[in-house]
Amino acid sequence: MAVPAVAFVARKLLVLAVTLFAASLAVFFSRFLVPGDPARFLLRGRSPNPESLAEITRQFGLDKPAWEQYWTWVGGILQGDWGRSLSYRQDVSEVLLGRLPTTLQLVALAAVFIMVLGLLAGIAASLNRGFADRFILIALTAAGAVPPFVAAIALVAVFSVGLGWFPSFGSGDGGLDRIWHLTLPALALGLSYIAVLARVTRSSMREQMLREHVEVATSRGLGRGSVVARHVLRNALGPILTVSGVLVAGLLVSSAVIERAFGLSGIGQLLIQSIDRLDFAVVQAIVMVVVTAFVVVNTCVDLIQPLLDPRITAGTENR
């Protein structure tokens, strides 16, 4: 029992490491596909003085062979040194650390909204056939079709301008104030994902409801609540978890639009600026952070799955 479990975890962790390595290659070398010389950009259109150009190129290690640059970069990351930003003239880690918390908090809050509201809506839809089900589905489909920036504008119009409940701008100070400030952005960010998760929850629950073990549970005299909680929802969690893993990890990328709309200084904004300015060190760092988050979240999901469904470790999930 213990040996397959250890092998399972080890295999997943190995896959994680390989994926990250492959991602780092892609992230680093994709920069050579982009036209433009980062050193030239620093001179901001001033007449290219060959000496200073060479100086900057050397200073940022841009003259070394690509492979050597890659190893320096990866080695640096592993020691916490992400290189220097060309445009901010600061260490990348400092630039990043200043903004990462805002984005992470935004994403975390959005994730909470997605999980709670998505699950609730999905469960409600799956349990009520007929009108309620159809109403929830239509509402969700409509909500899912709203682009995040439109949702942002609408939410601001209603809740900050109209009702004045929430602020429309900035990220506030720490603690509750931060949550208060991030509520509308998180809702706008998560809205379409709530729809996706609710649909997955609904269909996964519906699928389980038709299973014979649910009928058996009912026939044994379990109340409806017990049947739904113990035998329907519990069994439906697998696909729900998988989809939420992908969704939540993807939030990091799509947060850029929302950060702009609500004037938050997070890594989404930073990413767009840095691409504009050909600030590769920052771009690479952000992409690496996003990829890592994505892969780590999904690995966590994979590791939790066997706890939800014991058949997965045994490799007989097809039964």
Binding site: P4, S219, G221, G223, R234, N235, R319
Partner: protein
């Protein structure tokens, strides 16, 4: 005082169709009653109704009362009490019926903890005790395991334990042994018989197998199309059925009879065998090391026009053997020689596969899965004529019409998609598809197991007739000894990947050499009156 279960003039309609029509049925305390019918007869609806489980939006009339409580009109709380205290149900497939993500112990104790007021430890102790009483060893370990770690037979015992823990007065059994092997079935049937006698429960036993009903129940109701066509003492219905339909059912029920086995065709001494299998084996590598042996050391010969039955329980390697013969699997060792097609031990190339398919065809168990749902049946058969017979479009269509007519599919059904046909019709189409290649060997892999007994009888008859006409050799793989012995002159008995006994069917049935073969024959359900007279004989001095 009404009976324990009293169903009076119960009708149930769904979407304008009448599924049950005026059913009247009763089960008394301590009585065991069989409800026999084929798929679609409504027998499942009746058992569900006894627990107040009805399909959504169904129209119901009449009464279904358990201990005086009419489930058609009872409130939610009364129904819950009925299910908790008075009646329990055992379902067909314990793999589907027990939640796969929860432990066996959780399944057993969830009812005890919830309303019998026990704490978890007490409930577990009771569950363990019940499991042990049902003959499961290491019960303390079992309760911590998940369903996929148990065999089907063990799991069905768990399901029965779960039903008995509530100390029901009425036990509803919905085909509780259909998903199990025949030797396992014998154990479960004995268990149910004991439990019923011990507790004096009333039992309603639903089955499509008349023989099984006769081995367990004193009275029987025969159900057809939602109506009870006949009821009475089992012996009466079995030996002297009054209604035409009951008589057909009894006749269609296969029995083991050494005298009924077909004779082997007369062959010249030096005839080449059609199929020669030599030391055939198949091993599968497991993820994470280790191998599973599905088949080893299989050696046999099958002459042209011969018939060979392969019997065994699940996991005996009989299907692997069938798949190896048609080249769907690649052998790990040994050879298969099909006359004219050469060896098929290696992975086949397309041309080789086509040549082999011309000689060897297979019909699978489930015609719902083995026919392409998008292709009209006439075209499905015509396609085979075009592929193997190199016939033109028009000619192939004509050939398909003729062949389908021969297996009993009328010309006007040719344009139908498989879903518009019944199970038996689909299996006929699958058979026609196989025959369209004009094979010399037809492999039937449990080809009648998914069918109702009366349909099975028709399909078997058809196969027999076609075999005689076309001079086909047949390899019939089945778990059902009775079916195989009726069809085949030679028999292979398989167990855990090995052939444990082989020889003429009549000889094996009359005088089995191997212990396993003996237990296989002995597990076949025997009518109560036969076992009773046997017991009486042995009890007499």
């Amino acid at each position: 005082m009404s009976a324990l279960l009293q169903i009076t003039d119960f009708s149930l309609g769904l979407a304008g169709r009448k599924l049950l029509d005026g059913v009247t049925l009763e089960v008394d305390d301590g009585e065991s009653v069989a409800l026999v019918g084929e798929s679609g007869s409504g027998k499942t609806l009746i058992t569900r109704a006894a627990l107040g489980l009805f399909p959504d939006r169904s129209q119901r009339s009449g009464t279904v009362s358990v201990r005086g409580l009419d489930t058609l009109t009872a409130g939610r709380r009364e129904l819950l009490r009925l299910r908790r205290e008075h009646a329990s149900m055992i379902f067909q497939d314990p793999r589907a019926g027990i939640n796969p993500v929860r432990t066996v112990g959780d399944f057993l104790t969830e009812t005890l903890v919830r309303w019998h007021g026990l704490n978890r430890a007490e409930a577990t102790a009771q569950a363990v005790e019940q499991l042990e009483r049902l003959g499961l060893r290491r019960a303390e370990e079992l309760v911590a395991q998940h369903p996929h770690q148990l065999s089907g037979g063990m799991l069905q015992r768990v399901m029965i334990a779960g039903a008995l823990l509530g100390s029901p007065e009425l036990l509803l059994c919905d085909e509780p042994t259909t998903a199990l092997d025949v030797t396992t079935q014998a154990g479960i049937v004995a268990l149910l018989r004991e439990a019923r006698q011990e507790r004096g429960m009333g039992m309603l036993f639903v089955t499509h197998d008349l023989g099984l009903a006769a081995s367990l129940c004193e009275r029987v109701y025969v159900l057809r199309g939602g109506k009870v066509v006949e009821h009475g003492a089992t012996r009466q219905v079995f030996l002297a059925p009054k209604e035409e339909y009951s008589r057909q059912l009894v006749e269609a029920t296969p029995v083991i009879d050494p005298g009924a086995a077909p004779h082997a065709p007369e062959l010249p001494e030096d005839a080449q065998p059609l199929v020669a299998v030599e030391g055939l084996g198949k091993h599968y590598g497991l993820r994470g090391g280790g191998t599973v042996t599905a088949l080893e050391q299989a050696t046999f010969r099958l002459p042209a026009g011969g018939s060979l039955g392969v019997v065994g329980e699940s996991g005996s390697g009989k299907s692997t053997l069938a798949r190896l013969l048609v080249g769907l699997e690649t052998a790990s060792e040994g050879t298969v020689q099909v006359e004219g097609s050469g060896r098929i031990g290696h992975r086949l190339r397309t041309a080789e596969r086509r040549r082999l398919a011309r000689d060897v065809q297979i019909v699978f168990q489930d015609p719902y899965l083995s026919l392409d749902p998008r292709i009209p049946v006439g075209q499905a058969v015509a396609d085979v004529f075009r592929l193997h017979g190199k016939e033109g479009r028009r000619k192939a269509k004509e050939s398909a019409r003729e062949l389908l007519g021969r297996v009993g599919i009328a010309a006007e059904r040719l344009g139908d998609k498989p879903r518009m046909l019944s199970g038996g019709q689909r299996q006929r189409v699958a058979l026609a598809k196989a025959l369209a290649a004009r094979p010399r060997l037809l492999v039937l892999d449990e080809a009648t197991s998914a069918l109702d007994v009366s349909v099975q009888a028709q399909v078997l008859e058809l196969v027999e007739e076609l075999r005689e006409h076309l001079g086909l050799a047949i390899l019939f793989v089945s778990h059902d000894l009775a079916v195989v012995s009726r069809m085949c002159s030679e028999l292979l008995v398989m167990r855990q990947g090995r052939i444990v006994e082989s020889g003429a069917t009549a000889r094996i049935l009359a005088d089995p050499e191997n212990d396993y073969t003996r237990s296989l024959i002995g597990s076949y359900p025997r009518p109560l009156w036969e076992t009773e007279s046997l017991e009486a004989e042995s009890a007499a001095p």
